[in-house]
C-alpha cells in the first residue's frame, strides 16, 4: 500500500487506512540535519522546530518515495497551515491540507465533516491509481506505536508523580529522564503519545462510507490539544490533573509555538490553583533531554525531594548518586555549587 505521511494525530488514521494508505507519522522520519535542501522551501528561523523539521522531512520523502505516497497536513495552527501551503506549492498533487476547527460545537463538527469528505474524495482519487488500492485495512495496521513511528510510555504512568504537558514529542526521552532521576510520571498530555493517538487511530475504520459527521465529532471530542478552545482545554487539563493526582507539573513548550505559549500560561495557572510546583521548559524537535534541560529538571526535582509521592524508594540506588549515602538534594546542591560541600546530615529513611 502507498504511504500517507501525516503531521498530527488529529488526522483520523483509520480513514487513511480504510482508503488504502498506510498512515505514517512524519515526525518519525526526520532527515539528517545536513541533508541538502532547496532554498525555496527553507522556512523562517522563527518557525517552531516541529514545523521546520517536518518541512524538511516531507521534502526529502516526496523526493525519494514513489509518487503514490502522499502528505496529509492538519492545518491546526498558522505555522502548520503555512507548511501545507508551502508543500502544496511544490507538490500540489501529493499534498492535502486539512482545516481543523478549534472547538467541537455542532458548527465545528459540520465544518470538520465537510473537510473529511474532501479528504476522502482526494484520497480516493489517488488510491485508484495504485495497485494496492484494494488492500484490506485492519485496525491493527494503525494502532501500533511502532507502525506509526509514534513514541510510547517507557513505563506505565503512576498516580502521584510528575504530570508532563507538551506539544508533539519526538520520543520518550523526557519521560526516560524523569525516570532516571527517580521521579514517577503521573501522566502526559502530548498529541504524539498513546493517550491521544490510540483512541484516534481506529477512528474512521467503521465510519465509512456513510457517516463522516460521527467521525468528525469523535475526533473533535478526543483532540483537546493546546490549539483547542481554552475553555474546553482548561476543563480537560483540570480533569487530567485530578485523575492522575499529580504532584507537580512540567510543561515542555516548543519555541515559536503560539498555542503552546498560551497553553503553558493556562497550565501554570492550573498548577498554581492546586499548589503544584510548575516548571516550563523550552524544547526543540527532536527533543533532547540532556545538557541544560537535564540540569533544569534535576534542579526542579530537587525541590520536590521530600515528597514521597514523587520519588520512589529506588532513587538512592540510582546511578545518579553512585551509591552515595548523602541526601540526593544535598548532592545536587553541591554539584551546582562547587566548593560548597553539604553538611553531613542524618540518613534519610526510605
Amino acid at each position: 500500500m502507498p504511504n500517507a505521511y501525516y503531521t498530527c494525530h488529529l488526522v483520523p488514521l483509520g480513514l487513511l487506512s480504510t482508503l488504502g494508505f498506510t498512515p505514517k507519522w512524519l515526525g518519525a522520519r526526520l532527515p539528517h540535519q545536513t541533508t541538502p535542501r532547496r532554498d525555496a522551501t527553507t522556512v523562517h528561523p522563527t518557525t517552531c522546530p516541529y514545523v521546520t523539521r517536518l518541512v524538511a522531512a516531507a521534502e526529502a520523502l516526496l523526493e525519494e518515495r514513489p509518487p503514490d505516497d502522499v502528505l496529509v497536513i492538519a492545518g491546526g495552527c498558522d505555522a502548520m497551515r503555512r507548511m501545507g501551503d508551502l508543500l502544496a506549492a511544490y507538490h500540489p498533487e501529493r499534498t492535502f491540507v486539512l482545516a481543523v476547527p478549534r472547538a467541537s460545537t455542532e458548527h465545528d463538527v459540520r465544518a470538520f465533516a465537510a473537510e473529511l469528505v474532501r479528504l476522502e474524495q482526494w484520497l480516493k482519487e489517488r488510491a485508484v491509481q495504485t495497485a494496492d488500492a484494494a488492500a484490506t485495512p485492519t485496525a491493527s495496521a494503525t494502532t501500533g506505536a511502532a507502525a506509526l513511528g509514534a513514541p510510547d510510555y517507557p513505563s506505565a504512568p503512576e498516580p502521584g508523580g510528575v504530570f508532563v504537558v507538551g506539544g508533539p514529542m519526538s520520543d520518550d526521552s523526557l519521560l526516560e529522564l524523569l525516570s532516571t532521576l527517580g521521579a514517577k510520571v503521573a501522566g502526559l498530555e502530548s498529541c504524539t503519545f498513546p493517550d491521544r493517538w490510540q483512541p484516534l487511530a481506529t477512528a474512521g475504520l467503521d465510519a465509512l462510507p456513510s457517516d463522516l459527521s460521527a467521525l468528525a465529532g469523535q475526533v473533535l471530542q478526543l483532540a483537546i490539544c493546546p490549539r483547542f478552545s481554552t475553555t474546553l482545554r482548561k476543563a480537560h487539563l483540570a480533569r487530567r490533573l485530578e485523575q492522575t493526582k499529580a504532584s507537580c507539573v512540567i510543561y515542555a513548550r516548543q519555541s515559536f509555538c503560539d498555542p503552546g505559549a498560551y497553553d503553558a500560561l493556562l497550565v501554570a495557572e492550573l498548577a498554581a490553583e492546586r499548589g503544584l510546583p510548575f516548571l516550563e521548559l523550552e524544547v526543540g524537535f527532536p527533543l533532547e533531554a540532556s545538557g541544560p534541560l537535564r540540569t533544569r529538571v534535576e534542579a526542579f526535582l530537587e525541590a520536590q525531594l521530600l515528597d514521597e509521592d514523587i520519588l520512589g524508594g529506588d532513587f538512592l540506588d540510582d546511578d545518579l548518586l553512585g551509591g552515595d549515602e548523602l541526601l540526593a538534594g544535598d548532592l545536587l546542591t553541591s554539584q551546582r555549587e562547587p566548593g560548597h560541600l553539604p553538611e553531613p546530615g542524618p540518613a534519610r529513611s526510605e
Partner: protein, 412 residues
C-alpha cells in the same frame, strides 16, 4: 503631553487631564484639518471612554466587523492598536517592563504580548467580552479566549473558512459566516441590554468605505500617489471608527487635497523615485527604514494591509456584505492566494519592488513568506524580506535590516 497613566485613570483629576489632552489633540486636528489628525483625535477620544468605570469594553480581533459593535454604541478595543498606541506613548517603558516580567513566552507576537501585559497591569481596560475571527491568525484567538477565561467574560469566534485560491468564497460559505455575525449581533445586544441600530452603523460605515474605496481606486489607477507608510495609519486607526459618524466624516476628509495633505509622498527634486509595495504590517515607531528609503530616493507607494472595507454593504441586508469582508479578505487564505493577489497588485501599480516586513512572532505572515518570495522572483519583481518588530524602536535587528534595505535599494 500628559502621561498615559494620567489619561487612563478614573479619578476627577484624570477626567480633567483627559479633557485637556483631548482639547489639545482636537486643536491640532482643527489646525491641520487633515483626515489623519482627525482620525487620531476621534480614535483617542473613543478609546479613552473605555477607561471610564462601568464602560463596556469589547476586546476584538483586528478584522472584526466593528459595525455590529457601533450598532450598539460600543467602541472596540483592538489589541494591536492598543499595543501600538501604548508603545508610542510615555508608558512604553512601563509596558515593556510589565511584558518582561510576564511568564508568557517571548517568542509570541509582540502586539499580543504587549496587550496582555498592558491589560494585566491596568494600562488597557479589562474586557467585558472577547470577540474573535479566525482571520488572520490563531495567536490573537488564543489571547482573546485566554483573556475571556481569566476575566470570566463571554468569548465568541466568527469561524471563517479559507477562500479558494482563485475567485470568491462560495455563497454558501458567505451565508454561513453571515449567520454567525447576525447571531453575534443579537448576543451583544442581549449581553449589554442596548438597543441596536445596525442600519445607521452600516450607512455610516458605507460613507467611510465609499471615500476609502474611491481613494484606493485612484491610487491603483495611478491618478493619485500617496505615502503608503502614512496611509497605513488611516486604516489602522480607522478600525476603531467604522460605523461611527466621526469615522465617516474623517474618511470623507481624504477626498479633499487639504484633508490628505499630510499623506503626500516625499519630494525627490525631479528624480523619479523608486516606488515600493509594502507587505504586512509596518514598524510603528521606528522611522529609520523610511528615512533611509527617502534618502535613497524611494518610498512606499502602496500598502497591502490598506486593502479593506472598499465595498459597500446593503443596509437592508447587511449580513452577507459584512461576511464577505472576512471571507474574501486579501490576507486570508493560502500563501498561494496571497502571492497571486500581491503580484497582481505590484504589476498594476508598476511597483519597482516589494518589501515584506517580517513582524516578530507573526506565524501566518512569516509562514507565507517562502511562497510569496518565490512568486515575486518568478514574476521578476525585486523582493526583500526584512526582519523586525512592529513595536520596536531600533534594537539589535535594526542595523542588519537597514543594511539589507540599503543594498536592496541600491540594486533597484
Amino acid at each position: 503631553m500628559p502621561g498615559m497613566a494620567e489619561l487612563t485613570g478614573d479619578s476627577l483629576s484624570a477626567s480633567l487631564v483627559r479633557a485637556a489632552f483631548l482639547a489639545q489633540t482636537r486643536w491640532k486636528a482643527l489646525h491641520t484639518r487633515t483626515a489623519r489628525a482627525y482620525l487620531q483625535y476621534h480614535a483617542l477620544a473613543a478609546s479613552l471612554e473605555l477607561f471610564k468605570a462601568g464602560s463596556v469594553v469589547p476586546w476584538v480581533s483586528y478584522l472584526f466587523p466593528t459595525e455590529i459593535l457601533t450598532s450598539h454604541g460600543l467602541t472596540p478595543m483592538i489589541p494591536e492598536v492598543g499595543s501600538a498606541t501604548l508603545t508610542g506613548s510615555d508608558l512604553r517603558e512601563a509596558v515593556e517592563n510589565a511584558a518582561a516580567r510576564m511568564s508568557l513566552a517571548r517568542d509570541v507576537c509582540s502586539y499580543h504580548r504587549t496587550a496582555l501585559a498592558a491589560v494585566e497591569n491596568g494600562m488597557l481596560p479589562a474586557p467585558t467580552m472577547c470577540l474573535g475571527t479566525t482571520p488572520l491568525c490563531l495567536g490573537k484567538e488564543c489571547l482573546l479566549e485566554m483573556l475571556a477565561t481569566r476575566y470570566g467574560v463571554p468569548f465568541r469566534e466568527i469561524r471563517v473558512p479559507l477562500p479558494p485560491d482563485e475567485g470568491e468564497a462560495p455563497p454558501a460559505v458567505v451565508a454561513e459566516v453571515a449567520e454567525q455575525i447576525r447571531e453575534l449581533h443579537e448576543d451583544i445586544g442581549r449581553w449589554t441590554g442596548r438597543r441596536p441600530d445596525l442600519r445607521r452603523a452600516v450607512l455610516l460605515s458605507n460613507r467611510a468605505a465609499k471615500a476609502w474605496g474611491d481613494l484606493m481606486a485612484e491610487r491603483l489607477a495611478g491618478r493619485l500617489e500617496l505615502n503608503g507608510r502614512k496611509t497605513f495609519a488611516i486604516v489602522f486607526l480607522g478600525q476603531l471608527l467604522w460605523g461611527t459618524e466621526a469615522g465617516a466624516k474623517d474618511f470623507e476628509r481624504l477626498l479633499t487635497e487639504r484633508g490628505r495633505s499630510d499623506l503626500v509622498p516625499p519630494a525627490f527634486d525631479g528624480r523619479r523615485p523608486k516606488r515600493l509595495l509594502w507587505l504586512h504590517t509596518v514598524p510603528h515607531h521606528d522611522h529609520a527604514f523610511f528615512e533611509l528609503m527617502e534618502k535613497q530616493g524611494a518610498y512606499v507607494v502602496f500598502e497591502e494591509m490598506g486593502q479593506m472595507h472598499q465595498e459597500l454593504i446593503d443596509p437592508d441586508d447587511p449580513w452577507p456584505g459584512l461576511a464577505r469582508r472576512l471571507t474574501d479578505h486579501t490576507l486570508w487564505g493560502t500563501s498561494a492566494r496571497r502571492a497571486r493577489l500581491n503580484i497582481a497588485l505590484a504589476k498594476k501599480l508598476r511597483a519597482d519592488g516589494a518589501i515584506h516586513f517580517n513582524h516578530w512572532g507573526c506565524r501566518h505572515g512569516l509562514g507565507s513568506l517562502p511562497v510569496v518570495r518565490a512568486a515575486f522572483i518568478e514574476a521578476g519583481i525585486p523582493f526583500l524580506a526584512i526582519d523586525g518588530d512592529a513595536l520596536a524602536r531600533g534594537g539589535p535587528n535594526q542595523e542588519k535590516a537597514l543594511q539589507q534595505l540599503e543594498s536592496f535599494l541600491e540594486l533597484l
